[in-house]
Symmetry: C2
Subunit: 387 residues, 2 copies
């Protein structure tokens, strides 16, 4: 909070937003779920008297167990629809990956399920304080929301839509897993499917839809062969569908996972893609399915290899500082996190990605030639991991 | 990173910003200072080959010692000007408050000074790993920058300014101090003076100027008499200038220090004000001076009282989770921090406010009737601390 920026910004965000007619953060909706107080006895949610309703996403209601489907009843549950196929795929992936993590860790995931009155909901699974993992979370969620017409026009290349908001559907899986050992890397992955309805006041206009996702690795220390195995496994899944996917999506990940104010990435990347709708839905579903199934073979062996490595206090502190960088990326830049915080998604699921513990040490710079300096160089200057 | 929000947001920030002609964060300038690598031997700064220049704030150059003034040479150094008077005030406050903290802690502040080629600079003082304080930082800085004409028009009620950016000046002091003991509270304060030139293409238009600032307390556990002492000391400094200041600025702090996605404040507030220009500059300087001088009597006794309190592991973890909330507020909402990260201020000074360590525990809710629940209630429902 340097005084210079503190001031200039209070000027810019406060007054400029008014001038430009933007809503200032001060007026942004708060999550309601964050105010719920859950008794340790059961899963019922009691609400605070100071509840602030979320403006864009309905308040969720806790369920005692995960429902068969998070889709709305009726037509949208049609097994032939991509909505149903994608939910089935991500829930299978959640089961498979949780199973592999539990086998490695020995601990068990805790599950929280919820739904929203207007349809949709989610299933969060968290393993905290395990033998191998400090914190591992895997979310599945389905959202029925509303988007501004400008956003719809952007999605459809400027066609259609009047002044009304456009209903949209989104389903996805998202996960971050932080191991305890500083020699074992953190992983993140997220795969999602999105579609809009036709505008109510322009029923002839097309529906928009697309797929997006990615898987990326965040080590504290670089073991070249480990990163090569991770990238190689992702490349193998990509190559089954298009040899141009891996190089393109590897670059996209190097661009996306940038902590701009540090000039360094949070890790060594992987693949990232968005807005994919240039092939039949079935082909893109198959691609997303293969990418989700590649998470276990790409990642689990790296943690298994390093989970019992010896390490020093200094190495643990370096890991903790890199965890701090992870927090900086997720709270400042990550699209899903920043959007979720503004729109009132289930806060504990959105911030499940944050590490159990993190550290900010003033003006710490690795010694030249150290393993920490090598890692920082890899975060600042993306490497080619595959020959 | 719940999949739902991950998706919807990738849509919103990516495509909508293009539609609305906003620049997306992806294109935001990065700090250059964050890429400097400082050898442990001296204070010289070596630059990385991948340097990205900051767009809005010049790259700083490290100095071996703090200069007599951070102002540009010549007229702007005039001792009769508010620019010079305000710099003198904040540097005196930095000296006085550092002295009081060193007496309490027994440790010494480390000083980093820097300047920018076009004028301005700063002095950061940090005490890390002390006997009493985990991390305490006090910054003084002076900035010569450029603002968009819309911002100038907003500041001057829509008068003047053509299409060119307007030069501005800002000087201030900013500080956050995190004690080790979970019974001892964290404090933040920031006092600043801002003024613009007349637009180059509208020399007759008025200069804009104002004062802003605040002091707020963030305890992990509530000791009513301590919070009352803190607020009472700030009220005493306010009342010397206007009996309406304290109630107005207490409310402003309760509004400003809100973690919207949690529906809770980061602490128990204090005072916050901005855009003050409704009195002669000398009166507002005297007010800012009294507020800065109130920090030591308002805060230091609370830390002195609790620095040796006994505490449990659970109490330390609760403090660490509240530190996590502090990180969430500063990275997501704090105007100075969010602006500074976008514009390339000295990153280590901007993020000096972050705690040495923090914790995010999934879905943790204090037991009803516990001291933690009482603190959370105070953060969610602001209290009247003074009879």
């Amino acid at each position: 909070m340097a005084a210079n920026t503190m001031h200039a910004s209070s000027f810019t965000t406060n007054k400029m937003n008014n001038v430009l007619g933007r809503s200032s953060r001060r007026g942004a909706p708060s999550s309601s779920s964050c105010l719920s107080v859950r008794s340790s006895r059961n899963n019922k949610v009691k609400k605070s008297s100071t509840m602030i309703k979320a403006a864009m996403i309905e308040e969720e209601v806790a369920l005692d167990e995960a429902p068969l489907t998070l889709l709305r009843p009726g037509g949208e549950g049609d097994a032939n629809e991509m909505r149903a196929k994608f939910e089935k795929m991500v829930r299978q992936a959640q089961n498979d990956i949780c199973k592999a993590v539990e086998e490695l860790d020995g601990g068990k995931f805790h599950e929280d399920a919820w739904e929203r009155p207007g349809g949709g909901g989610g299933i969060s699974r968290v393993l905290q304080g395990g033998k191998v993992f400090e914190k591992a979370g895997i979310n599945v969620s389905v959202v029925y929301g509303q988007m501004p017409p400008e956003a719809y026009r952007a999605a459809t290349g400027g066609q259609g839509a009047g002044t009304e908001t456009i209903p949209f559907f989104a389903a996805g899986i998202s996960s971050v897993m932080h191991p305890i050992n500083p020699m074992a890397p953190t992983v993140h992955f997220n795969y999602r499917y999105f579609e809009t309805d036709s505008p109510r006041d322009d029923p002839g206009a097309p529906r928009a839809w697309w797929f997006g996702g990615g898987t990326d690795l965040t080590p504290s220390y670089i073991f070249h062969e480990d990163v090569a195995h991770f990238h190689g496994t992702l490349k193998g899944a990509c190559d089954k569908h298009d040899p141009e996917y891996y190089p393109r999506f590897k670059q996209w990940a190097d661009d996306y996972f940038m902590i701009k104010h540090r000039g360094e990435r949070r890790g060594v990347g992987g693949v990232f893609f968005d807005d994919m709708n240039d092939r039949p839905k079935e082909e893109l579903l198959a691609f997303a399915t293969d990418m989700a199934q590649a998470v276990v073979p790409a990642y689990i062996p790296l943690v298994d290899k390093h989970k019992d490595d010896s390490f020093t206090q200094e190495e643990k502190e370096w890991q903790q500082m890199r965890r701090g960088r992870y927090v900086e990326f997720n709270l400042v830049y990550d699209r899903g996190t920043t959007f979720g915080l503004k729109t009132g998604g289930r806060i504990e699921s959105i911030l499940m990605s944050l590490p159990l513990t993190a550290r900010w040490q003033y003006d710490m710079h690795p010694k030249e030639g150290s393993r920490e300096a090598d890692a920082l160089d890899a975060f600042m200057n993306p490497r080619t991991w595959l020959a």
